[in-house]
């Protein structure tokens, strides 16, 4: 049996008593790239936010690489990269300032070199000293891609990473995350919510479709209890 990267067990989250996520059980093997599909309000964001340790589940449990998400351990947080709907950036900092702070927080070695490489790869190296507040949505999204990859996470949680990206931006996203060639032996696991279903076949190794907080269709093996 292959290693499990993400496992959820009857994961449930309620808002005002209404379940946004309803007993979702999935198992994602290490190294796979899973598309998370579904209409607005189907629970994709809720699932990703719980996995990112930002949101508490109402019931059920989830583990990433064997770590319980609810425990919010440092080791776990070091292994997760998260891109969500809204950017998570210091508006009045420059990209370099922002990334340098987070490189310190994640204790990235050779930070300077990493930042230069990542900013070049996402194509905003020339904007490195501009204030992030002046960026377009697409430029911010490119920066978020760089930020999510900064600490070499093992699991990437992406909530509609295409937002704001132009054609070349989408290529950057594909190259760096969705279709990236593995450089090292430890594979990266991707769980990405997306509305671009026509592109899913090009990168995903499987998918999960949610509706009203429940799984209605999936290529993953059902979590049998």
């Amino acid at each position: 049996m292959q290693d499990l990267a993400i496992e959820t067990n009857r994961l449930t989250r309620r808002y005002d008593g209404l379940p946004a996520l309803n007993r979702v059980s999935i198992q994602i093997t290490s190294g796979s790239r899973i598309a998370l599909l579904g209409n607005n309000g189907s629970g994709k964001t809720t699932l990703l936010t719980i996995l990112s340790t930002l949101l508490q589940s109402s019931e059920g449990s989830a583990t990433i690489l064997g770590y319980d998400v609810a425990k919010k351990s440092t080791a776990l947080r070091n292994m997760i990269g998260f891109i969500r709907h809204q950017p998570m950036l210091y508006e009045n900092f420059s990209p370099v300032e922002d990334l340098e702070l987070f490189a310190k927080i994640y204790r990235v070695s050779d930070a300077r070199e990493q930042i230069r490489r990542l900013l070049t790869n996402v194509g905003i190296w020339h904007l490195r000293d501009e204030a992030i507040g002046t960026f377009s949505r697409g430029q911010k999204q490119r920066l978020m891609i760089a930020k999510a990859l900064l600490h070499k996470p093992k699991v990437l949680l992406l909530d509609e990473p295409e937002i704001g990206l132009d054609q070349s931006g989408l290529r950057v996203l594909d190259e760096l995350i969705l279709m990236r060639k593995e450089e090292d032996s430890s594979p990266i696991t991707v769980l990405a919510a997306t509305h671009r279903e026509e592109r899913v076949d090009t990168w995903a190794t499987g998918f999960v479709r949610l509706e009203r907080g429940q799984i209605i269709e999936t290529t993953l093996s059902e979590n049998t209890e």
Binding site: R14, Y15, D16, G17, L18, P19, Q56, R212
Partner: protein
């Protein structure tokens, strides 16, 4: 668990016990207790006043303990319990302040004195009112609000000794009119009546607190049922 078993007995034990104790208290305080020589009948208010004050502290302790338990366990039943107890605490704080004022007018000549204990009680009332306003103005099952309010209740409760100390210093380090020391030592008979009153009012408070908790738990359940109903309707349409 023993605690659970005891809690299961609440409907059988608390109401009759509280009822008997209250009748005993009324009889003792109104008939048996001697009329105070200096203050007259108005002194009998103190048989309500002191127990109410103790009951409010009791209720707010329940709120604080339940808030700690909520933060540790993240189970909303503790949040409900904290709210239920806080309401009862507020009722008894208000009763304490009112009986105190009614007693103070004939004895001190004023309804209100900036005395340490009165001031502390008033601030206690403000703190837990703020707690309830904050909690009730947000969604019942919002864990953000529940967390915020739990933290607020704990800080508020731990703040009490400091408030009391600061208000006491504030009054005593100032020159102030000398208030006659009243009731330096209670006669035995009055002491007995006071003890019975404390017991009776604490029992009533305990019963009210269980009622309050039960109410909050039911509103939690109602919220869930409503949500399920809504979900069913939207599925059918």
């Amino acid at each position: 668990m023993i605690l659970n078993n005891i809690y299961e007995l609440r409907w059988k034990v608390l109401p009759p016990a509280a009822g008997v104790a209250m009748i005993g208290m009324a009889a003792l305080a109104l008939i048996t207790a001697p009329t105070e020589v200096v203050e007259g009948d108005v002194q009998r208010l103190l048989y309500v006043h002191l127990p109410s004050a103790l009951a409010s502290y009791f209720a707010f302790s329940v709120t604080a303990v339940c808030s700690v338990l909520f933060l540790l366990k993240r189970d909303f039943k503790w949040d409900s319990a904290a709210q239920g107890a806080a309401i009862v605490g507020l009722i008894f704080t208000l009763l304490t302040l009112m009986t105190g004022s009614l007693w103070g007018k004939p004895i001190w000549g004023v309804y209100w004195q900036w005395d340490p204990r009165i001031t502390t009680t008033l601030i206690l009332f403000l703190i837990f009112s703020a707690y309830l306003i904050a909690r009730k103005s947000t969604s019942l099952d919002s864990d953000k609000s529940a967390r915020f309010c739990s933290i607020y209740a704990i800080i508020g409760f731990l703040d009490i000794p400091l408030i009391h100390m600061s208000v006491r210093w504030w009054r005593t380090l100032h020159p102030q009119p000398i208030i006659a020391k009243l009731n330096p030592a209670l006669p035995d008979e009055m002491l007995l009546v006071t003890l019975v009153s404390v017991l009776a009012v604490i029992l009533v408070a305990a019963w009210f607190i269980t009622l309050g908790i039960e109410t909050e738990l039911l509103s939690q359940r109602l919220l869930k049922l409503k949500a399920i109903g809504k979900a069913n309707i939207s599925e059918k349409s």
